[in-house]
Structure formats: structure tokens, C-alpha cells
């Protein structure tokens, strides 16, 4: 069950739906008090997130992204599931650098349920 301040987006694992994630990130980021530069960073981070989640067997399975507006900012949890078992993937150095520069912290996990990337960003003021 979603919390009152959470929005979850569930879409087929295809890049064509990336814009859904960006628009939701902007909307919830605004709710969380991010300024427009921080929103731009967040959109970049969401791009990297979805690109990582979609590696391997694009079109197979689904992506679920949950956005939560918290007292300290925004938390985003992205999960990719697929019918076939997804190979373990680490995030590449450059994507890691982009995420490191655009969000406060991020964590990738290869789980039995699928591939997961969590990240968090707080407004500066």
C-alpha cells in the first residue's frame, strides 16, 4: 500500500516511457521543495536510473518507480522486474559519477525480485 505522500509509476520496460519518470520526478521534486536547478539535476539522475534499470532484455518485464516526498526532500525507488532472470549489473563509472553529482546519495542492488536503484535528494535551502 502506498503512503499518502507517495506516487508510484508502473510501465513496460521500454525507453519510450522514460518521459513519464521525468515528469513525475519534476512534479514530486517541486512538492519536496527543490528549485528548478535541482529539478534539472533530478531529471538527469532519473535518466541514468531508468537507463541502468533497462539494461538487458529491453521490452521484457516492467519498471516501477516510486516517488516519495519526505520532510527532507525526495526519495526515489526504481525496480525493474522481468520474466527471465536479469543478469547482475553494476552501474558504470560515468553513470555513477552523474548520479553522485546530481543526487545526495544512491544505491544499486541486484535482488532476486529484480534490479533496484534507490536515490535521495534534498533541497539546499
Amino acid at each position: 500500500m502506498l503512503q499518502a505522500d507517495e506516487i508510484s509509476v508502473h510501465f513496460p520496460a521500454r525507453r519510450g516511457f522514460l518521459y513519464l519518470s521525468r515528469l513525475n520526478a519534476s512534479a514530486i521534486g517541486t512538492e519536496a521543495g527543490l528549485n528548478v536547478d535541482e529539478l534539472e539535476d533530478l531529471r538527469l539522475a532519473v535518466n541514468e536510473m531508468v537507463n541502468w534499470l533497462l539494461q538487458d532484455a529491453e521490452g521484457d518485464g516492467t519498471v516501477t518507480i516510486t516517488f516519495a516526498s519526505t520532510d527532507s526532500g525526495i526519495e526515489i525507488d526504481g525496480l525493474r522486474t522481468a520474466d527471465a532472470e536479469l543478469p547482475e549489473r553494476q552501474i558504470d563509472d560515468l553513470a555513477n559519477a552523474v548520479l553522485g553529482a546530481t543526487v545526495d546519495d544512491h544505491r544499486v542492488r541486484n535482488e532476486p525480485a529484480g534490479r533496484r536503484l534507490e536515490m535521495r535528494k534534498s533541497p539546499e535551502r
Partner: protein, 250 residues
Amino acid sequence: MSDEFSEEERARLLDEFASTRSEAARDAVTAAFLPLADYFARRYSNRSVELDDLQQVARLGLVKSIDRYDPTVGVRFSTFAGRTIDGELKRWFRDKSWAMRVPRSIKENVREVTLSQQKLEQRLNAVPTALEIAADTKLDLALVIEALDARSSYQPARLDVPTSESGSQTLGEVLLSEDASVDRSDVTMMVSQLLTTVSDRDREIIEMRYFEELSQQQIADRIGLSQMQVSRILRKALGELQAAMRDPSS
């Protein structure tokens, strides 16, 4: 890369700039990596634009990447700079075509949002939030967010698929028509979704043809097929898209 600079020399110049951040050091790094910028400019020079213009854009990307590069992260500078320069060139192409590709109502909102942001930054001495811009412009918050996204992200309008079975007008014509009665942003979104129904290779070819505006021969050269094969693939893929448009349940 320039023969004038060895790998060691370029690494030393990067280290020097990282520690001093001086203009002289930045100029030296720029000179050392100019061939990288020019290489990326040449990659796009088969289009109807001057190579000089592309080199300027690529070199601006190079300077940005020098300023943003953090050697402690562990990514090679040439990798980081290459992606930045490539992004700068793509953004330049996007901005050139943006005026034609984005519906007029969104363009007006982008202009209003940008002016408001500049005004608020001065007044607040801080970067404003979308809520503050919405309050200042009296625009709905959703329209402000849409404008921010349109300004920063790449949303190509892609196709010349007929909009009806009679096929008298293409989507491209509808999208570009100033007096179109349809909501063009919705059409663009629908086309983006339809593109997800074709194979990866077909989508790549369609995007090269209708977004990057490469000729069939240029596409053929890039992906190693004959021009006739590219022509057949485009015809088949557009046919599938037309079928999908006529039958939304498929």
C-alpha cells in the same frame, strides 16, 4: 588527439588545472584536447551546417567539461569530455530545430517561465522553485513543470505517418502546422508511444531518418546496409506504425 601533447603531458596539465583552477592552466588543457572537440564536430559535419559552427559548439563543450571534471571520481577525462561535447552538439541541434518542433503554447510558456526565473533569481538571490515561478507567472504549476521539461529534455516530434486512413496529411504536417486544431503535444506523446511498438533496429532507423534527418544513404553508410534495404525497412516500419495508429488496441 594532438601529437604536440603526450599522454603524460595532458595528464599533468589536467592535474595542474585541478589544483590551481587558473585561466592559464585551463587554456593549456583546452589546447591539449582541442583535437578531441574537433573530432566530435567532424562526426556531425555531414549535415547542412558549417564545420566552423560545429567546432565552436564542440569547443564550448570541451571548456565546460574541463570546468566540471573531477579527477578524483576515477573517470578518464577523455570519456567525460567526449560525452559532454557530444551532449553539447546534440543540444545545439535540438535547439536549432526546437522552434519548429515544440507547440506554440508550450514555447510561450517556456519563454514566460524563463523570464520569470531570471527575474526571481535576482529578487530572491536564489534559484526559484517551480511553485514560485507558478505564483509569479500565474501559470498552472503543471504548465510550469511541462515548460521546464520541454526546455531541458529532448522530445522529438518524429514522423510523417498519415494521421488517418485517407492519408491526406502527415503527423509531421499536423505538428508543424500553425493552425492545427489537434493538441499537438498529445500527438507527439502518442507517436512516442507508438514508436515503442517497432523493433529496436527499426526505431533507430526511423529516428535517424526523421529526427536526425539523415538521408537514406547516410543511414545506410552508418549501419552498414544498402540504401535499398534502408528504404524497405523504413517503408515496413512506417506501415506498422500506421497500422498501430488505426488500431489503438493492438
